[in-house]
Amino acid sequence: MSLTCAGYRRKAGHNRKNKAMKFLLVEDNQELANAISSRMRIDGHVIEHAENLGDATAFIETSEYDLILLDIMLPDGDGRTFLRKHRARSMDTPVIILTARSQISDRINSLDLGADDYVTKPFDHAELEARCRAVLRRKAGKTQTVIETGGVVFDPVAGLISVQGETVNLRNRELRLLEMLINAPGQVFSKQKLADRLFSYDEDVSENAIEVYIGRLRKHLNSSDLKITTLRGIGYRLDHEP
C-alpha cells in the first residue's frame, strides 16, 4: 500500500520509486525503530531514523521529509520542545507524535504545541496510515498528488478517481485497495494479503469479503483501460489493457 500518502508533493506515475513517502522517525528505542522501519519499508516508504533530538535537528536541516514521526520521551529532551522549535522556525512538515502515555494527559499538550495528530503506542500501522492521510489532506489541500495511468486519474490523498472526465469519490477501502493495485501493476496479490490490509485485526472477516470491494472497484474502472483480473485460487492483479 504503499503509499497511502503516495506521491505527495511529487508528480507521480512514472517511476514508482519516486512516489515513495519519506518519513523521519525520531525514536530512541532502537528495537522499536527497527520494527517500525521494517514494517513501513514493506509499504515502500523511505524511512530515516534519528535516535535523539540532536540527530533529528541535523536530519531536518539537510533533508526534506513528507512527515515526521516524533517520540515524546527522548534521551536529550522532550519531543514537545523539539516540536515547538520546529514550528517556531516555520517548518510546516506535518508531525505525528508517537506517545506512550495515557491519551488523556497528553492530548491537549501535544496538539496545542503544533503536532498535527498523535498515535498511542502500540499502534496499528493502518491507523497510522489513515492519520497520515488525514493530516496530508488537511495540509496539502488540493496539491498535485495524482497518479495518471490507463485513462484513470487517481488522487490518493483526496480519495478521488476520474475516469473519462467523470469524478467519483472512493470509499476508504476502495481507495486503499486501488492504491495497492495501482502501485504494483501486473503483480499478483493474494486474497489474504489484501484482506490483511483492508480489515482490522479485531474483525473476523472471511477472505471472500474482499470480493465485494473488488466488485466495486471494477465498476468504477469499467470504462477505463485498467482491468482487475481474477486468478482463481491465487488472487488478483491489475492489468493495463488498451
Partner: protein, 439 residues
C-alpha cells in the same frame, strides 16, 4: 474553651479569698495598734506613790478605742497576782515585761480581741509588776470586713465576666482562623498543592509553615509518582509497540495459514492488553478526577467536534460514516477531560460494533436537557443485559470477537454520575445501540 472559663472561675475565687485575707490582716493590725497604744498609755499612767501603786487611767486610753459600731471595751488590771480594777473574769495571759501580746477569744458570748501587757515598777526596795488586759469586741472590724468582702466580690465577679468574655473572643478568633484554614484545605482541588498565602495570626504561623512544607513534599511525591506512571507506561508500551510492528511486518511475509492465524492472534492479544492497560489507567484517573470534580465552562459542541475529527480516520478505515448533529452551541460547566473521555469510550464502542458501511450518529443537544448521544448501526445491546452492561469488566454476550476490556461503559457511567447525570442505554427501533450521556 470550657477549660478556660473553669480556670477563670478558680482564679476568681482564689483572688477573692486573697483579698479578703489580706483585708482581715490589715484591719486586725489596725485594731491591734490602737489596742496596743491604749494598753501602753494605761501602763504609763501607773506610778508608785509612797509604796502604793496609783493608776489614773487617762481619758484618751478609752476614747481612742471608740468605733462607729460602739464596740464594747473590757479591761482588767492586776498588781502582781492581785486584782486591782476592771473585770475580774477577763483572763490575763502572762507576758514578759514591756511586751504586748494579742489574742482573739470568746468573752461574754462575743469574739473579742484581748491585748495583754505588763510593766515592772521599781520603788524603795520593792518591785511591783503591773499587768493590764484590754479587750474590745470586733463589730466594727467585721463591718469593715463585710464591706471589703462585698467590694472584693463585686470586683472578682467583674473580673470573671471580663475574663469569660475575653476567652470567648480569643477562642472564637483563633477557632475562626483555624476554621478558615480548615476550609481552605478542604476546598482545595486535587491538583492544588500550592502553599497557603492567606494572612494568618502570628500564633498560627508555625502551623501554616509546617502545612506548607507538607504540601511541598506532597507535591514533590505526587509529581514523582505521575512521572513514575508515565515512565511505567512508556516502559510497557514501547516493547509492545515493537512486538506489534514486527508481528505486522512478519504477517506480510508469511503465507502459511496456521502461521498467519497465530500472528493475527498475537496482534489481537497485544491490542487487548494495551487497551486494557490504557483503560485501567484512565479509569483510575477518572475516579480521582470525579471525586474532586473541577467544573469549568465549556462548549460541548466544540469539545465533541474535536473528538469526532480525531476519530474520523478510524471510522474511515471501516468505511463508517461518522455524523455529528449538534445545536449551535451547548454551553456547560463540567470537566472537559472527563466528558471527552466518556464520549470517546462510547464512540470507540460504536465504531467497534458497527458493521462496515454503517453509520455512527453523534448528537449534542441543549434542549430539553443537555445530552450527548452516540448511536451505531450494529447489532445493538442484548436486551436482557441493558441494566448490567455498565458494570465493571462486564461485556455484552454478543461482544465475542471484538477487543475490549469491559471498562468503557463503566467509565462513561462514572463520568455522568460525577456530573450529577446518568448514562442511558437503549436500542434503536431500526437496529443499533444507543448510549445517551445525560448531564
Amino acid at each position: 474553651m470550657f477549660t478556660l472559663i473553669g480556670g477563670t472561675a478558680i482564679l476568681a475565687l482564689l483572688l477573692f479569698f486573697a483579698i479578703r485575707n489580706s483585708a482581715v490582716q490589715v484591719a486586725q493590725s489596725a485594731q491591734d495598734n490602737i489596742l496596743g497604744a491604749s494598753v501602753t498609755s494605761i501602763l504609763d499612767a501607773a506610778v508608785i506613790w509612797d509604796g502604793i501603786v496609783e493608776i489614773d487611767i487617762p481619758y484618751a486610753s478609752f476614747s481612742m478605742l471608740s468605733t462607729p459600731m460602739d464596740d464594747r471595751v473590757f479591761y482588767a488590771i492586776y498588781q502582781d497576782e492581785t486584782f486591782l480594777s476592771g473585770y475580774p473574769d477577763l483572763v490575763i495571759a502572762p507576758t514578759a515585761d514591756r511586751e504586748i501580746s494579742f489574742e482573739t477569744t470568746k468573752y461574754q458570748g462575743q469574739f473579742v480581741r484581748v491585748t495583754t501587757a505588763s510593766r515592772t515598777l521599781i520603788g524603795k526596795d520593792k518591785r511591783i509588776q503591773i499587768r493590764v488586759a484590754l479587750a474590745q469586741t470586733q463589730d466594727a472590724l467585721s463591718g469593715t470586713l463585710d464591706q471589703i468582702s462585698q467590694n472584693a466580690a463585686l470586683f472578682v465577679t467583674g473580673f470573671f465576666a471580663l475574663a469569660t468574655l475575653l476567652s470567648f473572643w480569643a477562642t472564637s478568633a483563633t477557632i475562626g482562623q483555624l476554621k478558615r484554614l480548615t476550609n481552605s484545605v478542604t476546598r482545595r482541588g486535587p491538583q492544588d498543592l500550592s502553599p497557603f498565602e492567606k494572612p494568618v495570626p502570628l500564633e498560627m504561623l508555625p502551623l501554616v509553615v509546617s502545612l506548607n512544607s507538607l504540601m511541598a513534599r506532597l507535591d514533590h511525591s505526587l509529581s514523582q509518582s505521575e512521572e513514575f506512571i508515565a515512565e511505567a507506561a512508556h516502559r510497557v508500551r514501547t516493547p509492545l509497540a515493537t512486538v506489534r510492528s514486527y508481528a505486522e511486518a512478519t504477517l506480510q511475509r508469511v503465507d502459511k495459514k496456521e502461521n498467519r492465524q497465530a500472528i493475527r492472534s498475537m496482534i489481537r492479544a497485544i491490542d487487548e492488553s494495551s487497551r486494557a492497560a490504557g483503560q485501567l489507567l484512565d479509569h483510575a484517573m477518572i475516579t480521582f478526577r470525579a471525586d474532586h470534580l473541577e467544573r469549568q465552562d465549556i462548549d460541548l459542541v466544540g469539545l465533541i467536534n474535536e473528538l469526532v475529527t480525531r476519530l474520523t480516520p478510524i471510522a474511515e478505515m471501516k468505511d463508517l460514516k461518522l455524523q455529528l448533529q449538534t445545536d449551535k452551541q451547548v454551553p456547560y460547566s463540567g470537566d472537559p477531560i472527563l466528558i471527552q473521555n466518556a464520549v470517546r469510550n462510547l464512540l470507540d464502542n460504536a465504531l467497534k460494533y458497527s458493521p462496515s458501511d454503517g453509520t455512527v450518529d453523534v448528537f449534542v443537544t441543549a434542549t430539553p436537557n443537555i445530552r450527548i448521544g452516540v448511536c451505531d448501526s450494529g447489532k445493538g445491546f442484548p436486551e436482557a443485559e441493558l441494566d448490567t452492561l455498565a458494570t465493571r469488566f462486564s461485556r455484552g454476550s454478543n461482544a465475542e470477537g471484538t477487543i475490549g476490556s469491559g471498562l468503557g461503559l463503566t467509565i462513561a457511567m462514572d463520568v455522568a454520575a460525577a456530573h450529577g447525570g446518568s448514562l442511558q442505554l437503549s436500542n434503536r427501533p431500526e437496529g443499533g445501540a444507543c448510549a445517551l450521556l445525560l448531564l
